[in-house]
Symmetry: C2
Subunit: 329 residues, 2 copies
Amino acid sequence: MKNKERIPTMKDVAAEAGVALGTVSKVFNGFPVGESYRIRVEQAAKKLGYRVNNYARGMRTNRTNTISIIMPMICHPFFSKLTECIIRELDSHNYNTFVSVTDRNPKAEARCIRMVAQNKTDGIIALTYDPDFNNIGNIPFVSIDRSFTGSCPCITSDNYTGGQIAAAKLHELGCRKLLYARTGSPVPGETDKRGYGFENWCQTNSVSYDIINAKVDNDQMIEKIREMVENGTFDYDGIFCSTDLLLILIRNELNRLGIRIPEDVQMIGFDGSIDFYTGLPVCSSIEQPIEQLAKVAVNTILNYDSENTPSLICLPVRYIPGPTTKDWI
Amino acid sequence: MKNKERIPTMKDVAAEAGVALGTVSKVFNGFPVGESYRIRVEQAAKKLGYRVNNYARGMRTNRTNTISIIMPMICHPFFSKLTECIIRELDSHNYNTFVSVTDRNPKAEARCIRMVAQNKTDGIIALTYDPDFNNIGNIPFVSIDRSFTGSCPCITSDNYTGGQIAAAKLHELGCRKLLYARTGSPVPGETDKRGYGFENWCQTNSVSYDIINAKVDNDQMIEKIREMVENGTFDYDGIFCSTDLLLILIRNELNRLGIRIPEDVQMIGFDGSIDFYTGLPVCSSIEQPIEQLAKVAVNTILNYDSENTPSLICLPVRYIPGPTTKDWI
DNA sequence: TTGTAAGCGTTATCAC
DNA sequence: GTGATAACGCTTACAA
């Protein structure tokens, strides 16, 4: 009767190598140990196929080499890329990654955080929308794109500058009456600054603009656009949209109403989405530096120091020409 | 001096409630306990904000309520959706999910599996390409889309039938000379059956067809197509592609060469990709039942019984019309 | 430098 | 039904 696949423990390794338990532990934790011992231990470990049990270690040390990420969804160009980049970056630091999805539902977000806390994660990277968010368990927490009231660091694109760039670009491309269209959660977040930057540039440069805001959802936005066009009050020649997705929706509606993009109206979105199938930009857009966002988030969480972490880190964005402006080849 | 945020343990709860440690454990594990005790324990737990420590529990029980998923990448329409569905499904069973990405690199795959084994995951759901894959650690393992040599269950779309459906549909839509184009890893996998089903239908129904295979990559495939068109040997009026992505690539090349889709050539892909921005099908396609794939994979892993799990589970596919066939409105 | 032993927070076994 | 007590696999003072 075979030994029934028993998973070898440190004790087994110690016995096999003929050394004390503590010595084995030291070898696996990089503490100095007599060379001959180290070799014996390593050989014994290899022979037995030993791997340290992270659960036992985690229990003892309260560190688990595990980070959790919390996303509204995965099946989405921006979120999937961000998720992938974060996982890759953590992996390169030898960390495992828990992933949860919340649907932007505060209840689900809270539940995730509880679960994650229970799993003794070393930290949380979250893109969350809970206005009442409260970091239970005192775990290092980094937020992406959503700034909490000073309680934890937020990593985000430089949304403000992005808004300015968009306005400037539209103007440079000949637009004289601009519109900023946004939808999104009513919760104030970093992304609101896209609009503020846009406004600021328009005001500073005395460019005429309007803002159209659909708090609830995209349908409402489309509805408003249609009304304006049908009323004849739609006289814009440049639109900045808070996301690429919104841009596409609006463009399709404008097309349907006989307005051509970019001939009649030029449009710039936000995200820098690339079409998966063609590799081309979905639209003209302000590109978010996703890889960097991920790298910085991971770095911040791994070097977390509650005293000394900055509360907001903005990463630079840039304009990418696409098929919705006249500078597209 | 405050108690420095000490996380309460079962012992604390027991003390607070004035009961024995074992009683608290029973309450939290649903074992029968005197009603008055249960109430005292629950109140004490709430008061202290106690949550059971999954690491300690995992160490004791060797179950962690954690599943790992291993994907080639996340930033991809099919994989991101699959990943999200699996996470959601696991979450609904109160499981946490580790996610790793491997880039289809066998070395990375092996590394992931090692890490995962070390973290004492309760099971692995993987979409892997390692021909020499070997399930170390004897962890329940479910493969998606890739059948190993009988060693573990594989969940997949009914690729064979999908191929048949595609051939039949093209024929129904008037195509008389068909082509099957595939790229992909040289490792034999479930997806190869797409071609077999296609061939089978053509043979059974005496429809003329060819197969073009680019083992290495997409560029090579595009090259071959171009050659055929330039040679004048391209006389197909219906193409079945092993993935939607490949379809788009080929379509773009054909367009460039002056061939119109679907007027001159009709095309059907595989995956059922929906354009994220418009919500419309990217192309005519055989749809994979992603949610179901996820559900079944999770179910299989959670009810794993090495004796009794089927080695292959095929889920039904269906044809979805899109802009690359003439039945598209 | 090496070995010993005391926990870490749970669960499971047994007497009571 | 309840409550001591011994593991689980590992780290870490501390003693040798």
